[in-house]
């Protein structure tokens, strides 16, 4: 399945957002997620089924003013 992860095209076999985070190196990371522009809380990542072409955003703390 082809997805966009933080604007970069990826190919994956996983089917849930939680599994994608593990696969892509975000295990136990302090991140927030969105799929197709909608916030997906941490508690719902396991139930969040991914579809072909989904746009995934994984955000983390960063410098800000």
């Amino acid at each position: 399945m082809k997805l966009q992860l933080n604007g970069i095209a990826i190919d994956t076999d996983v089917t849930t957002l939680a599994a994608l985070l593990d696969e892509q190196g975000f295990a136990e990371a302090k991140v927030a997620t969105a799929v197709n522009g909608e916030f997906v809380p941490e508690a719902l990542r396991t139930a969040q089924i991914l579809d072909e072409g989904d746009l995934i955003e994984v955000l983390a703390p960063m410098q800000g003013g």
Binding site: A29, A34, V58, A60, M62
Partner: protein
Amino acid sequence: MRDFYGTTLTTGLMLGTAQYPSPAVMMDAFKRSAASVATVSLRRESGQDRAGQDFWAIIRDLNVHVLPNTAGCHSVKEAVTTAHMAREVFDTKWIKLEVIGEEDTLQPDVFGLVEAARILSEDGFNVFPYTTEDLVVADKLLNVGCEVLMPWGAPIGSGLGLNNPYGLRSMRAHFPDVPLVIDAGLGLPSQAAQAMEMGFDAVLLNTAVAKAGDPAAMAEAFAGAVHAGQLAAKADPMEPRDMAAPSTPILGKAFLI
């Protein structure tokens, strides 16, 4: 000092965490500024270098209140979604709400700002809206649930100081019980002192410290200015007048002509 959604801050200085030459310099600046609040943001994380995780560890060690922002958001939906993501990551109801409406000045889109503030306030957020000195907009922000207002001093990163002292003075007078923070545009400690002398409760700045030649020294200078301005406001400043008034008593002056 007025409290911010039930939190009393130890100092009236809120400091940003961006643009420092290094994390070590940023930490030093925070230490010497005694800032009570650090502003932070959310950006895309890489699963390889996990830079955000390291940054978060540094912020936690600062031992200050964390105020996440929605910087760079241009629509209500984008700002609201970012706020939700920030609440989960930073585990705080505080959100510095920015809905930018114009690229050259980064002026807030006050129509979108009020709408986003309404949605977030209803959802339990403590909204710190980055706004202009417009009294009508301020009133609408308070009506939708904001208990703090953050008018700009000048455009973000400009260092111009207080562009509209009249408007800011009016705002302070019009909302005597509302915590007010000057957010953005400060370049020098004297401008921070001016804001505090006018009765503002805090100033929020980033570039003026981070882009100084010696950020930690500038942070300390701002801390001194904020303290001086705050003290001066409490001390009830004299009214200015047009004509001179001798301070040395005339009575008892020698006749030497």
